[in-house]
Symmetry: C3
């Protein structure tokens, strides 16, 4: 079964297939009756939204779900990730969603397992389902990527969202602007560094990043107030935004730091819509991983009224 490790591994055609299926799932409110499929969520880092989003997606697909948190497990007994996953494979798990502190934890696993690894975030590396839900949100708004300007602003160095998004958006024909504190610049990202006001003024999408305190070696030197003034989306800056442009943020938001409290649910904010899209995108990704090969049993969806 295929893995989803980084978006760079996926062709544009596959990305579009996944997005189109996600849109169909969301529009028709699709779910599945219980299926004989087992998935596992292995979160070696704390998470609410991503785990819940995947778990909701899995359950709406009718899958059985095994949840694993780093605290209560044999990894304490020194077991390697490979041995844990081989075990899950034998237990019948067909897809494992993994979030892990280590960059590219999957490198020496990808060719040794028959289950599908869905990367739920690796260190300061990638977060491909977040990038897909960001794409879905942008596509719902503008129906295209080509020619759009996307400003990604903030903690560029420690954000796996920035990496995944900048790469795929560039590939899809968008222009990526980058802005944020100098200390957090990231030379490996595609995109053009500009002043924040310039970025906010020019962009169709202003994507603010979360400050990843938990992945910093040292604290931020600025107070929250100063960060907000210099690098945040303040009320004043929001007024510079173009008509029809939107605000995004991967959440959880540090309200009043990356973005003014009042803007989180403002009319042009898509922050909670992004979360909503996350479930549909993850359903689409899981179905792609579990049911895509031709020999797999094909399960039927059911639509339900809310």
């Amino acid at each position: 079964m295929p893995h989803l490790l980084t978006l760079s591994d996926l062709s544009i055609e596959t990305i579009n297939d996944i997005l189109n299926k996600a849109q169909e799932i969301q529009m028709q409110n699709l779910y599945r009756e219980p299926q004989p499929v087992i998935t596992a969520n292995l979160f070696f880092e704390a998470s609410t939204r991503t785990r819940f989003s995947f778990e909701a997606a899995e359950k709406r697909l009718g899958y059985h779900v095994l949840n694993f948190s780093a605290e209560n497990s044999s990894t304490q007994k020194g077991e390697s990730l490979y041995d844990t996953l081989r075990t899950l494979e034998e237990v019948g798990v067909q897809a494992a969603v993994i979030r892990h502190k280590q960059d590219k934890y999957y490198e020496d696993l990808r060719d040794r397992l028959s289950l599908s690894i869905i990367n739920g975030g690796d260190g300061c590396g990638d977060h491909p389902t977040q990038a897909l839900l960001d794409l879905m949100t942008i596509k719902q708004e503008f129906s295209r990527f080509d020619g759009l300007t996307i400003a990604i602003i903030g903690d560029l160095r420690h954000s796996r969202v920035a990496r995944s998004d900048a790469e795929v958006l560039t590939r899809l024909g968008a222009r990526v602007l980058l802005s944020g504190p100098k200390a957090w610049m990231n030379e490996t990202l595609p995109g053009e560094y500009v002043d924040i006001d310039e970025a906010v003024k020019t962009a169709d999408v202003v994507m603010m990043l979360r400050i990843q305190h938990e992945r910093h070696n040292q604290g931020m030197n600025l107070s929250k107030e100063d960060y907000h003034k210099q690098y945040g989306l303040t009320l004043e800056r929001e007024r510079l935004m173009k008509p029809g442009s939107i605000i995004m943020h991967p959440a959880p938001v540090n309200r009043g730091v990356e973005i003014a409290d009042e803007l989180v649910e403002a009319k042009r904010s898509r922050i909670f819509k992004q979360i909503n899209n996350g479930v549909a995108v993850r359903m689409s990704v899981l179905e792609w991983a579990v049911n895509k090969n031709e020999e797999a049993e094909q399960y039927e969806y059911v639509a339900f009224k809310r």
Copy 2:
């Protein structure tokens, strides 16, 4: 969708509807086939019985369940309860069961969310589903509340059960007697303070409260043995009880402290029956919250043989 925050919010008619449905569910051993409904249990305080009771109720209703414990979550990243719940809403959660240390944690949430909050206990505040299962237990025994005498004995100050029960029982026409250590008296409760022997002798229902060590600022000054002698239901005191009267306790019981070990499963004890009633009451509450509005899809129950 409606919230269940305190019983004071519910009319006597609604309370009776919930109790009648719970009785029907229990008598006919009802459950539901899997449904496209997602609920979440958010326990910010340790709990076995309440979480398991809700989870069993949710699963017997055919719902998908997301479990959350305070340790492994973005609340560590400083997210507010509001943002967590808005996230769950977007993930598709229709009802969230919440236990929280803070009194009235729900105050600034109630009008800002479309999901239903079911209060699973707030600080030293309320515990409405516990009160409902207590009502169900009393009703099964006496078929009425009017004219009954209920003695609530023990840690009145820190017990959310005491508050919820005293309020609703008074409203339903019962006479509430209160007894316990002076230091733990609670002026805000409706009811009449009496000597413990007097309370035990007079009551149709002797409801002993758990000592809430975890909510005390300072330890109890008495030894367990002295507490038991002065404020507990000893074997001697039990002999003072009226014929037909029953013993209740919200559990978990400190055996030999609030109540003599031998009385926990005595003939007149309803302590484990209360737990059993808890599942039926919570099924009834969840159905009321999730399916009550007229536009909601109505799901069918199935009866099963044990």
Copy 3:
């Protein structure tokens, strides 16, 4: 409902029934549609594979599953295991899988509960479902137990696998050889102590045990390398094994300590097959516990294509 506490409690006939059903489940890839049955997994010790194996088994049987870890529970409030289980009984739980640090934790519970206890491992005591999956693995290989020679090698004192396996294998007519560090010899096990090379040379099954660091009062005196040389299955020792003989290990494996890294997935290793058998054996055990009595509703299995 029956308990499964130790294999000594089961007749050979019952053991064979369970193994045969497990084999049928595995061969036909059986599962069940959702059933109105609730089971609980109570793990008071860390575990990945055993909990996941039971949970996958329960879910493939269509049961609802309640998971409990020692950290977030009322056992912190000092509740006894008996009271916890009585609570679960009232909540509707029909079978509880329990792993506990204390040897024979079940002794004063077995006659006081109507739910079924499935022992998932007690202290340095027993681990009956592990022994059953070991039997299943051996039977798949040799179609018999009588006349086989099984060498159990390593931490005999702290291993519950060793106890459960040595007892039942002896009863089934196999010859049990024991080997390992003198400090970890266990006089209570049936079997004959021999030199490790002798054991490896003679055995049809070389069963290596995990070093149970977490159950030792003091650390091992040997370095990992020295342990491996003296008591481990090295590449050299493996060459002494008879044609057709197999390697087993309860896992998780300390690679390079109990067994050479390269041997874990060698041709004659059945280590991951054991894990695979675990799910089928546990499905069979759970069905035996939950559905065996004649009054119980009989549920139908469904076969599914992978």
